[in-house]
Symmetry: C2
Subunit: 103 residues, 2 copies
């Protein structure tokens, strides 16, 4: 499983000298769960991304991007055509966001 997000929040936790125990209790999860999120064994809920950002005084968008990227990565992991698929998806997104201007 991809793990940019987990790596980043682990780094942030260490920079803040916090223990998993402390962070976990803030997010109302147990330490095994936090451990798994940091190592990418489980994925955080979207809601929790914001909680991490707040707790660590980090940029919400930065974390959200990492979190999304991990999920994208998971979809195409191991596929030879991953890059082509990504480009195709990117085009689609561009098209959709244009027409979303007038919604």
């Amino acid at each position: 499983m991809a793990n940019q997000f987990g790596g980043r929040i682990k780094q942030l936790r260490e920079q803040h000298n916090l223990l998993q125990r402390q962070v976990a209790s803030q997010l109302e999860i147990d330490t095994p769960m936090l451990s798994k999120i940091e190592r990418g064994e489980r994925k955080a809920k979207k809601e929790q991304v914001g909680q991490f950002a707040k707790l660590y005084n980090a940029d919400n968008n930065e974390l959200l991007i990492l979190w999304l990227a991990d999920q994208l990565f998971d979809v195409v992991e191991g596929e030879d055509l991953a890059l082509k698929a990504i480009h195709m998806a990117e085009e689609e997104i561009r098209i959709h966001s244009k027409s979303a201007k007038r919604k």
Copy 2:
């Protein structure tokens, strides 16, 4: 739900003048299911992508790319940060495929 894939296989079916009934039986699914796949209400199994390609004499890779792209799209659909996340994921993929050379 994204639907590049469904649109394409519908187009192919029409070009070949086949009925859903006929195609469905080849893939051993029922017509409602095929209808849903064509309209993107359900997603085809990866295995079925190949079956479509064969049946329609289409390029396997082309279909697989569309199929993957749809799933990528679903992950970031509606996200403001979609493009940034896509770019991040793309970088990750590049990195991984490099180190996969010698595996």
